[in-house]
Each structure stands twice: as C-alpha cells, then as structure tokens.
C-alpha cells in the first residue's frame, strides 16, 4: 500500500499493479469474514438453543469463538500462502474499528477516562520498564532484546517493538524473539484475564481499564475487553489507545539512550521523530468522538457507526486466531519467553492494583 503513496504514478502499469495487490487480498479477507461470521453464528446458535430449552448456560461471546476457530485452522491445516496477504489486513480493520468506536464516546468521557489511563500508564510504564531491565539482566538477555521486550510489554506490543527496532538498531532476530514472546503472552491473556476479572467481580469499567493497561497488543487488548462485556471492550480500547499514543515518547527515549552509547543512529529532529511514531488512528478516534459530542450524528446513525465498528472488530478477532502459530512461537527459546512472562505477570498485578486504587479514589 505504501508504494502507491511514495512512488510516482506510471500509468497503466501502476493501476494493474494496484489491482493485483487488491485482488491478492480477497482470499484472505474472505477467510477473515468466514471465520469471524462463523464465531458470531456459533454464539447466536448456542444462545438460541439454550434459551429455547431454558438451559442456564453462560453466553460465550463470538470473540472467543472467532479466535478459537482461527487458532484451530492456523495450527492444524495451516494458512495457505494465497490467504496470507488478506489475513494480514486484520490490523487495518482493528484501526478502522477503533476510529469508528470513537462515535460511542463523548469527548468528556474520553478526557476523563483517558486522563486516568494516562496517569496510570505513566506509573505502570516507569515501574515496568525498570522491572523488565532488572529481569533481562538476571536472565542474561542481550541488552537490546531486553529493551524491545520492555517496550513491547510496557507500551503497546508488536507495533512498539517494530517502531523501536530501527530506532535502537536492534537486529531481526531480537525483534522476532520479542514479538513471539509478546504474541504468545497476548494469546494467554485472552483466556486468563476474563476469568480473573469475573472471579474478582470487577466492574466493566475497572476490568476494561485493566485489560487496556495490561494486555500488550492492541488486537488482544480489544479482544480481552470484549470477552468480558461490550462496555468493558469500549473502555479497554480507550485505555489501550491512550497507551499507544505514548509510543513515540518511549521509543524516542530508547533511541536517545542507545545513540548516546554509540550503538544506534543519532536522532535528528525530535518533533518529526515523535510525529513519525505517533499512531495516527488516535487522531481519527478523537475526531469521530468530537463529532459525536457535537451532535453531528443522529442516534440511529450513531448505532450504525457502532455496528460498523463491531464488524471491523469481527475481522480483527478472526485475524488474531489465524495469525497465531503456536509451533513457531514454541521455537523461539524459553528465556525471552520467561522474561516476558514474568514481566507480564508483574505488569498485570501492578496495573490491577492501580485500577483498584483508581476505582476507589478517582471514581472511574
């Protein structure tokens, strides 16, 4: 996609090239839609069956079914090459879905919850970065791998690692270790967070805030929130988006540190660096929220926007399962995984304590 924006237009060849690239996405997109819709179908079918027979059965959200179906396909028959490009678009749908979700927030709520999230994120990031570096040293990980794991687990998962990799001059192997560890831990959190939330009887807001602050990857944080409840999913996205907005500052900090050690290129224009790393979908989210607050949309229109966001997330959740290759994750070695896992447990407990405190003193 970037090629079309950065290279000059060469006429018919470019159009054909673009057409081919779009056509290459279709099989994977159909797979995402099929798996996601199958998840929704299973949820509705079970709901209708148990209701008709008066069976007390907890509602299992389509989110879980879509992820599990995706996981089964990816780890049994595998994903043929023809589907790969389309499946990789799940992140695109995630971001479009988050922007559209802005319509479900009044700007005042965004500023209130976003402000609380910002405060908690600042505390959590400081403590978790310190903890991850102590752990990395204890497990004798390479310093740059530790930096990547710290950025990934304290800020925003895979995108943070990818943003930090060139900035600190880390190698491909370190990045793929860190990504594998973060993805594996994200998959585990999908199944553990809702269970912990229910056992602690967390409110939707408190749970959503916790999931948004503790689960690393945006797709998994969104899914972990939605698995608890619709309202919790909304709050999780907001908290995670706040975290994402800070990515540039953390990556800039690491880039300055590693360049001062002579092991990464110097950072020229810091404002341009920050803007380059800033996730632009955050601006789209705020814009839609502002328009909704100003009454730009009618109530039925807001419902339509919220439903469009749900459809976009449906494709995302199918992609989360389909791109998780458990065998490949297992090949990455135990030490980065151990550091990531211990760090994640620490961050999960820390953020849980922070959310408890915020719930009590800051009136979520």
């Amino acid at each position: 996609m970037a090629a079309t924006t950065t290279t000059p237009f060469h006429g018919v060849d470019d159009v054909i090239g673009l057409g081919r690239r779009i056509a290459a996405l279709i099989p994977g997109l159909l797979l995402l839609a099929t798996v996601g819709y199958a998840g929704k179908f299973i949820e509705q079918s079970i709901g209708a069956y148990t209701k008709a027979r008066h069976i007390a059965f907890p509602n299992i959200e389509y989110v879980l079914w879509a992820i599990v179906l995706g996981l089964i396909i990816a780890n049994t028959v595998g994903i043929p090459r023809i589907f790969a490009a389309g499946v990789a678009t799940y992140e695109f749908w995630l971001k479009a879905g988050i922007v559209l979700l802005g319509s479900r927030f009044l700007l005042g709520d965004v500023l209130h919850l976003g402000g609380i999230s910002l405060l908690l994120v600042a505390v959590a990031i400081t403590l978790s970065l310190t903890f991850m570096h102590i752990l990395g040293r204890a497990f004798k990980l390479k310093p740059k791998l530790t930096s990547l794991l710290a950025v990934g687990s304290s800020i925003c998962g895979v995108s943070a690692i990818i943003a930090a990799k060139p900035a600190i001059g880390a190698d491909d192997e370190d990045a793929s270790y860190a990504i594998a560890a973060i993805l594996a831990l994200g998959a585990i959190s999908l199944f553990t967070f809702p269970l912990i939330g229910h056992s602690l009887h967390l409110s939707d807001k408190a749970y959503g805030l916790w999931a948004g602050l503790a689960v690393d990857n945006t797709a998994e944080a969104t899914a972990a929130g939605a698995l608890y409840s619709d309202a919790a999913g909304k709050v999780a996205v907001l908290a995670k988006t706040t975290r994402n907005a800070l990515i540039g500052f953390i990556v800039l900090g690491y880039a300055l540190y590693w360049s001062s050690c002579g092991q990464a290129q110097a950072v020229g224009n810091k404002a341009a660096f920050l803007w380059g790393k800033f996730p632009k979908f955050v601006l789209g989210f705020l814009l839609i929220s502002l328009l909704a607050t100003l009454g730009f949309f009618t109530k039925p229109q807001l419902t339509s926007l919220a439903n469009l966001s749900r459809w976009a997330f449906l494709l995302t959740f199918a992609g989360v399962g389909l791109r998780t290759n458990l065998r490949e994750l297992g090949k990455q070695g135990w030490r980065p995984f151990a550091v990531g896992a211990i760090g994640e447990v620490f961050i999960a407990l820390l953020t849980l304590a922070l959310v408890y405190g915020a719930d009590r003193y800051l009136y979520l």
Binding site: M1, A2, T5, A84, V87, A88, T89, E91, F92, W93, K95, A96, V99, L100, S103, V158, S159, I162, A163, A175, S176, I179, A180, L183, G276, P279, K280, F281, L283, G284, L287, I288, L291, F296, F297, P300, Q301, T303, S304, L305, N307, L308, R310, W311, R323, E328
Partner: protein, 39 residues
C-alpha cells in the same frame, strides 16, 4: 513472524488508510447514503 512485521513497514499508510476509510464510512452514514447497519 514475517506476517507480523509486514503491516508495520507500512504503519503510516496503514493508519492513514484506516482513518480515511472510517471517516468516509462516517460521512456516508451521516449523509444517509448507507442503509442502517445491523449487527
């Protein structure tokens, strides 16, 4: 893992395209050019 890294290469474009799509959809909904979206 290559799949995980490929979107990031285009992170600026990916974000921009996603925002553009969402805004176009929001405008279409606002102008009632899309039927009500059900879930």
């Amino acid at each position: 893992m290559s799949n995980s890294t490929s979107p990031s290469r285009f992170s600026f474009s990916l974000d921009s395209y996603a925002v553009a799509l969402a805004l176009v959809l929001a405008l279409l909904v606002r102008l009632n050019l899309l039927p009500p979206i059900k879930w």
